[in-house]
């Protein structure tokens, strides 16, 4: 049923209903975040108050038994692992999306997409298990102990690859046929069309995918816990054993009480803030609302 306007001056009933309904769903989402923040702040309160939060950066190390909670080594580890993973997954993911859109024979497209969806759905514990039983021994034979920053980076890259690939592919699909046809009419090679027209136009969607992937990498717990080694130290080389913030929460939460527990929640809060910062930066990079534009 198509609801057409009877009168363009006043909002039709369907439209005013639409505004209200969608507005209220959006409100629910905002409220949800508020609740999560509330929980995090409440639980980390005891250790954040009275300027206690400075201890997160100046203490001797992470020694909960003696009330010392220096988050810096784990923070660096988290950033290093996620950044490394994105550096690998972004080019790979975008290129496989380009492959799927422009180079693959028609019969390959759907199976390839299916494989991506499957990779996205494998639980992190399975990735971790595979990493622990296959990847870590391989790396360990090269350079002990095997459980290291490098294995964390590789596993994370594998896990966020589907996100990058699928969103990039969707973004490339949205590139208007007019642009592509125009480029072809101008005599551009396939490389020219891809690099000069399709990728630039799909840039917003690809960046969204990259951002989602980075956030996934930052929040990943189980798989990294199993392959990274979990020693609290600032990573000096790719082969050092590291502990990321999320793995720390998972390892110690079941046994933490009082201030220790509050410190763990505080590290969760820190993670959230990093992600928000990243998202804000990405938003500024994109500018506008990235809407597709009509071609003259």
């Amino acid at each position: 049923m198509i609801w057409s306007r009877h009168n363009t001056s006043f909002l039709s009933r369907a439209d005013s209903a639409l505004t209200q309904v969608t507005g209220s769903t959006a409100l629910v989402v905002a409220v949800l975040l508020g609740l999560v923040l509330l929980l995090l702040i409440k639980e980390s309160g005891s250790v954040l108050s009275d300027g206690g939060w400075t201890s997160f950066f100046v203490s001797d190390g992470w020694y909960p038994q003696s009330d010392e909670y220096n988050l810096l080594p784990m923070l660096w580890a988290t950033l290093a692992a996620s950044l490394g993973a994105v550096l690998i997954a972004l080019p790979l993911g975008v290129m496989s999306a380009v492959f799927s859109r422009f180079y693959a024979p028609a019969w390959m497209v759907n199976p390839l997409r299916r494989i991506m969806v499957l990779l996205a759905g494998i639980p992190s514990v399975v990735y971790g298990l595979w990493g622990l039983t296959v990847l870590v021994p391989l790396l360990g034979a090269w350079m002990p102990p095997g459980s290291s920053l490098l294995s964390a980076i590789l596993i994370l890259a594998l896990m966020i690859l589907p996100t990058v690939s699928l969103t990039s592919e969707a973004a490339l699909s949205a590139v208007s046929p007019a642009s592509l046809q125009g480029a072809a009419a101008l005599g551009l090679s396939r490389k020219g069309v891809v690099l000069g027209v399709a990728l630039p136009e799909a840039r917003a969607g690809i960046l969204t995918g990259a951002l989602l992937a980075t956030m996934r990498a930052l929040g990943e717990t189980m798989a990294v816990l199993m392959v990274a080694g979990n020693v609290v130290q600032t990573p000096g080389s790719l082969f050092d054993s590291v502990r990321v913030l999320t793995a720390n929460i998972a390892l110690e939460m079941p046994y933490a009480t009082g201030d220790h527990r509050a410190a763990l929640f505080a590290s969760g809060l820190l993670l959230m803030m990093i992600v928000t910062l990243l998202a804000w930066l990405a938003g500024r990079q994109q500018g506008g609302d990235g809407r597709g534009h009509a071609h003259e």
Partner: protein, 269 residues
């Protein structure tokens, strides 16, 4: 579109059913080590007591103790002894779990003295050749802070966690086993029962004896093996009738086979 009202009705019925269920429920939360055992004991208990449901949830020993304390759970599960500040609760031991040192099967070292182990874990000895093995870097595997296994290990070897220089820190037993199995130069410590099982199944690890006593489930049961921890059910005050029945059942001989099936050590009677 007629299926939609039908689905709604079905959902409604599904949601309403607890109103009509008359079963009594027993809730246990706590240690994920004890949970599989408690689950199986619970299933057998349900068979003996129709109309009773035993729900087991995990979350860690500390959570189990806390939940028992505030009444969120009827019984808590803890893979350790109660701490001094938990003296308002009572613990009921249902099994024992020995802790043994494991090496990779291809590691020629067959015996290590307490001093050697201490030196390895504090980073003073870094190569297997110093203790009669191959020229191979030692990969020290330690448990994460808070685990009772770690605390027992440190206590026995008179170590402070700050002195330990680990290369890998693990969370669960299985992670420890798989880490050592994948690295010829690794040394770690896990539950003896689990290690025994993995050995028989061909996983490339080997249990080390301690102070001349072999690390087997039997020596732990006989009390000869120095390192072991209790697996406990805890409750605050006097447990209600159903909980009391469950606890007695869990401590009885009727569940010895279940304890062994988890590769724990049944209580010596």
């Amino acid at each position: 579109m007629k299926t939609i009202p039908l689905i709604c009705v079905a959902l409604g019925v599904l949601m309403m059913s607890p109103v009509f269920a008359e079963s009594q429920k027993l809730v246990l939360t706590g240690s994920s080590t004890v949970a599989p055992l408690a689950l199986e004991i619970g299933k057998r208990f349900e068979q003996h007591h129709p109309g009773v449901r035993v729900d087991v949830q995990t979350g860690g020993s500390t959570r189990g103790v806390n939940d028992a304390r505030i009444g969120l759970a009827d019984i808590g599960m803890a893979s350790r002894a109660l701490k001094p500040d938990e003296s308002d609760l009572t613990s009921y031991r249902i099994a024992m779990d020995g802790i043994g040192i494991i090496l990779h099967r291809d590691n020629p070292v067959h015996e290590l003295s307490d001093e050697q182990i201490r030196a390895i874990y504090t980073g003073q000895i870094t190569n297997w050749k110093s203790v009669g093995g191959n020229d191979q870097k030692i990969t020290v595997v330690n448990k994460a802070a808070g685990h009772s296994t770690l605390e027992l290990f440190l206590y026995h070897f008179k170590l402070n966690n700050r002195e330990v220089r680990p290369h890998v820190i693990i969370g669960d037993n299985q992670q420890g086993i798989k880490t050592v199995a994948g690295n010829v130069g690794a040394i770690g410590y896990v539950s003896i029962g689990t290690a025994e099982y993995e050995q028989t199944y061909g996983t490339p690890i080997r249990l080390l004896g301690m102070n001349g006593v072999a690390a087997t489930v039997d020596t732990v049961r006989a009390g000869h093996f120095p390192l072991s921890r209790p697996l406990n059910l805890v409750s605050k005050g006097a447990p209600n009738l159903l909980a009391q029945q469950f606890i007695s059942f869990a401590q009885s001989q009727a569940v010895d086979d279940l304890v062994k099936a988890q590769y724990f050590v049944p209580l010596a009677r």
